[in-house]
Amino acid sequence: MSLWMWLLLSCLFAYAWKLVGYLVPATLLKNRRTSRIAGTMTIGLLASLTVVNAAASGQALLADARLGALAAAALALLFRAPFLVVVLAGAGTAALLRLAGWN
């Protein structure tokens, strides 16, 4: 299937999740486990996406300028920088490290 198909299916499923919340009975809200899994999966997925984007290249693990971006972003977050500043810190650090010859 083409990328467009997967993309539109993702949009459909995203809307389905949102809508299902408005259509199911409120008593389901009392199901602790549903909320817990939604929360822990959010943490796990974001942690995993961070690692994949910082250190994976296909099926290989690589230490390159992206690790510098990870460190810079963590530093910016420690200083409570807003989202865009964190992103710019990551981009700037990766770009500078590449200029310095570390790929």
């Binding site: 990328l3 997967w6 993309l7 539109l8 949009c11 499923f13 995203a14 809307y15 999740w17 949102k18 809508l19 299902v20 919340g21 408005y22 199911v24 389901l28 809200l29 486990r33 909320s35 817990r36 939604a38 929360g39 822990t40 999966m41 959010t42 943490i43 796990g44 997925l45 974001l46 942690a47 995993s48 996406l49 961070t50 690692v51 994949v52 984007n53 910082a54 250190a55 994976a56 290249s57 099926q59 693990l61 300028a65 510098g68 971006a69 990870l70 972003a73 963590a74 910016a76 977050l77 807003p82 989202f83 992103v87 990551g90 981009a91 700037g92 650090t93 990766a94 770009a95 590449r98």
Partner: protein
């Protein structure tokens, strides 16, 4: 919309918080737009994600998997699993707002971290309504506008690596994760899932390690007994500043800290 709001609405604490969170969240649509086109999506695919999927974390997940060489199926899997929490938000908002008729379907599309947090941070039912719709519509408009700006700027750049855009993606995911790491347990979940990812990368196709981590996290959620709302914090907390000062929600200051 904001410009035609009757003046009394601008006195509403929820409307003011909603507008300020709209600007803060909308602006980072620039980074999504730029990263999306440099991940290999075209302008209209990028816009389709912001208009139709409209959930920051899932959108970044989709392009993050594609950028890493993952399949469309894996990208869809990561984006869809990350969207589960919006279903929980929908249940909370349905109880608070009781939208009827077409409003229910519009409210569903606007159900994201920030509109939910703006609404549930208010105690007066009228303010809860105002907070949800102001933040939801405001973010929707600005997020799409700034996605377009970012996508156009991103296509004009030459080699994305030269500009460190792959580093920007790493930073964006860490920034989305960060506000959810309150306490030892969420940190433990993040570390275990990061390790599971690293271990899985050499053995399974690109994109799949993210789904492995999701499964580990789901098992953790099933068997452990932490707080119900753990991991459901918004990327940008509309009431951040207020909480630090210890005053109650609805006291009227803006979320200037987030902007």
């Amino acid at each position: 919309m904001p410009l035609t709001f009757p003046s009394h609405l601008l006195q509403s604490p929820a409307v003011r918080v909603g507008l300020s969170i709209s600007v803060a969240t909308g602006l980072y649509g620039v980074s999504f737009g730029a990263l999306s086109v440099t991940s290999g999506l075209d302008f209209w695919q990028t816009m389709a994600l912001s208009l139709l999927l409209f959930s920051g974390g899932s959108q970044f997940a989709f392009i993050g998997v594609i950028a890493g060489g993952g399949s469309g199926l894996a990208a869809m899997g990561a984006a869809t699993l990350l969207g589960m929490r919006n279903g929980i938000y929908g249940m909370q908002l349905n109880v608070l707002l009781h939208p009827k008729g077409w409003r229910k379907y519009a409210a569903a599309q606007l159900t994201i971290d920030e509109s939910t947090a703006t609404s549930t941070g208010q105690s007066d039912p009228v303010e809860q309504q105002r907070g949800f719709w102001t933040a939801g519509l405001g973010i929707f408009i600005l997020w799409n506008l700034f996605t377009a700006v970012g996508a156009l700027a991103g296509s004009a750049l030459g080699d994305p690596k030269q500009w460190g855009l792959d580093g920007a993606a790493v930073a964006a995911f860490l920034a989305l994760l960060w506000p959810r790491l309150k306490g030892k347990e969420p940190v433990a979940i993040a570390v275990v899932c990061a390790l599971a990812t690293v271990l899985a990368v050499p053995f399974v196709p690109a994109g799949v390690p993210i789904l492995v981590a999701a499964a580990v996290a789901a098992l953790f959620g099933w068997f452990s007994h932490g707080p119900k709302d753990e991991g459901l914090e918004p990327d940008i907390d509309p009431y951040d500043e207020r909480r630090q000062h210890g005053s109650h929600p609805g006291s009227g200051s803006s979320a200037g800290d987030a902007v």
